[in-house]
């Protein structure tokens, strides 16, 4: 199958600091790819480049075979949605109005709100369990609820490629699981190609068909969870000792951090 989004040898600098050094990535329709990597490894930068907010210094990004910036803006937004890392704290609108902004690529400046728009917004609110909060001001809900609203806005946008930057950072365990369920379902039923930046090492192994491990601006490992989530890879990227085994309940890779012990003390 052709990838919906590809990046080849993408390089990026802030000032004269190399932030990304030759990153290759492919996102396939119907597949959830999880982007792992320590703080500052370049995940957010990569997502901004893939969504066209930043231009790479070198390398190519192709969305459905074309550079993202070559699309008219709204056409591109119908193909690709992206959610940044920081939910808007004092956005002066209700949750519902905020989620409805995701319909802009389908409406334009002058189009009215169609029943399709209303359905998509309602569906996005349902999927993120926000229906009960739809009339509340975005500034008057919790950080986790606000984060779900950003995901809902991306869902309402109805694009085939979804780039989500740490969408589970503020979520409790129930909503974390629910989030992965929802993206997986969107991938399976709507053929969405999703990229999820995350720090949920074990949870993403349950859901991510593919994991890309970013370390210091380069892809340290990518592939199936069992290939990427090894103690060596995790130590090299994050500098922590972990044990990796199979979760007996699900068979998925499980990553357990080991307590640091002072050198010389035997157990």
């Amino acid at each position: 199958m052709n990838p919906a989004l590809t990046a080849r040898k993408v390089e990026f600098r802030y000032g004269d600091r190399d932030i990304l050094r030759g990153v290759d990535i492919d996102l396939f329709p119907g597949e959830v790819t999880v982007l792992l990597g320590p703080n500052g490894s370049g995940k957010s930068t990569l997502i901004k480049i893939l969504s066209g907010v930043l231009s790479p210094r070198a390398g190519d990004v192709l969305l459905c075979g074309r550079p993202p910036r070559s699309f008219p803006r709204r056409e591109m937004a119908r193909l690709l949605s992206a959610v940044g890392q920081d939910p808007p704290v004092d956005f002066p609108m209700t949750v519902e109005a905020y989620v409805a902004l995701g319909r802009f690529p389908h409406q334009g400046f002058f189009g009215g709100t169609t029943s399709e728009d209303r359905e998509q917004v309602a569906r996005a609110l349902d999927l993120t369990e926000l229906a009960a909060l739809r009339g509340r001001a975005l500034s008057e809900i919790s950080a986790g609820e606000r984060q779900r609203a950003t995901v809902a806005r991306a869902i309402a946008q109805g694009a085939t490629v979804m780039l989500l930057d740490e969408p589970t950072a503020f979520l409790d365990i129930r909503h974390r699981v629910a989030f992965y369920e929802v993206v997986t379902r969107l991938a399976e039923t709507c053929g969405v190609a999703a990229l999820v930046a995350s720090h949920d090492l074990s949870l993403c192994a349950e859901y991510g068909e593919r994991i890309v491990l970013l370390s210091d601006g380069a892809v340290a490992a990518q592939g199936r969870p069992e290939r990427v989530l090894t103690p060596e890879n995790v130590r090299a990227a994050y500098g922590v000792e972990v044990a990796c085994d199979r979760n007996p309940a699900t068979g998925a890779i499980r990553v357990t951090p080991l307590r640091a012990r002072p050198p010389g003390v035997e157990t």
């Binding site: 937004a77 808007p88 956005f91 002058f110 500034s139």
Partner: protein, 336 residues
């Protein structure tokens, strides 16, 4: 009934209330003045097109003056809404960004040093001044990483202070006979030559407000911030440029015609937001009506409050505006 329809119905009610308030303000303003006009005078003027003294006072003095208040107040409020969305900052208005100062310099250049009667091109020159000020603020605030709203406001304040000095210099150096008029105009006034000023201003305000209204969905998206608005499908730079130019045109043409009237562009958007929320399709019309009513009433106070003569309307808007603004800020916990 769905929530959307409830909201639409509520918006309709608010809009109707604002329209009635505006109509009431215009009627009150037209009926009030040093010469009291009997009811017959109104009938004569508006129904029979009469040309007695009362009819002439009504048709060529008071009504145009009220209409000028409508246009000026509406335009300032709309421009304030646009700047606040553009900069994502509730403190933004044409003054803080130096736009009004630029417009004043542009208009003063023509009025003080060039031809005797330049009023038809005054709005254009004021717009050029406003656009030049807006552009320099924008370029000064620009960095490689983009334009941050904070820097924009900082640069606006600096450029605005500089322009104020230029204005004072220009007034001081101008032909002596023109100084009092220029000073009075600078403080904001709606008093002189109103029918023609209404005619000059009308096309600018109509076009500017219409363009902003057409951009309203884009303004909503701008509230998300540049990257998110871009990712949501907005041509951010284009919409920002169009908004910047249109809001400068509105503010510039108003300054050209009626001088520097402060506070309307700052507080009216907040009041309107408290009534109809932040979606610009509703906010823009509501702010226009509220700004219009506010300025018509302020002008009525300006010309009736003091027995010794008219106050500059700009003084009234600031006197009334500052406490009202504080009230709003406190009531909304500083959020609006």
């Amino acid at each position: 009934m769905s929530r959307g329809r409830v909201e639409t119905a509520r918006f309709g009610t608010v809009l109707a209330a604002l329209l009635s308030a505006l109509a009431g303000a215009v009627v009150l303003s037209t009926a009030t003045g040093p010469v009291s006009i009997p009811f017959g005078g109104f009938v004569d003027a508006f129904l029979r097109g009469g040309d007695g003294t009362p009819a002439r006072i009504l048709l060529s003095l008071r009504l145009p003056r009220a209409l000028l208040g409508v246009l000026v107040g509406g335009a300032l409020a709309s421009s304030g809404v646009a700047f606040q969305a553009l900069l994502r900052n509730p403190l933004a208005d044409p003054y803080i960004l130096g736009v009004s100062g630029g417009a004043a310099v542009g208009a003063l250049t023509v009025a003080l040093f060039l031809s005797a009667d330049a009023s038809p091109v005054l709005p254009l020159c004021a717009f050029l001044g406003a656009a030049a000020a807006a552009l320099s603020v924008f370029l000064l605030a620009r960095r490689r990483s983009g334009v941050s709203p904070e820097r924009l406001i900082l640069m606006g304040v600096v450029v605005g202070a500089f322009l104020n000095a230029v204005i004072m210099l220009m007034v001081t150096l101008s032909p002596p006979g023109k100084i009092p008029g220029a000073l009075y105009w600078l403080m904001g006034d709606l008093s002189l030559g109103t029918p023609r000023r209404v005619a000059v201003l009308l096309p600018y305000v109509t076009a500017g407000s219409a363009v902003l209204f057409l951009l309203s969905r884009g303004l909503d998206l701008l509230l998300l911030g540049d990257s998110e608005a871009f990712q949501a499908g907005l041509s951010v730079e284009r919409v920002k440029t169009a908004t910047y130019l249109t809001a400068s045109l509105l503010a510039g043409s108003v300054v050209a015609v009626s001088g520097l009237i402060g506070f309307v562009g700052l507080i009216v958007p907040h009041g309107a937001r408290a009534l109809v929320g932040s979606g610009h399709r509703r906010l823009l019309p509501a702010a226009f009506l509220l700004g219009a009513a506010f300025l018509v009433v302020s002008d009525l106070i300006a010309r009736t409050a003091s027995p010794s003569g008219e106050l500059p309307v700009g003084a009234v808007t600031a006197l009334a505006g500052a406490p009202f603004f504080l009230y709003l800020l406190r009531r909304n916990g500083g959020r609006s």
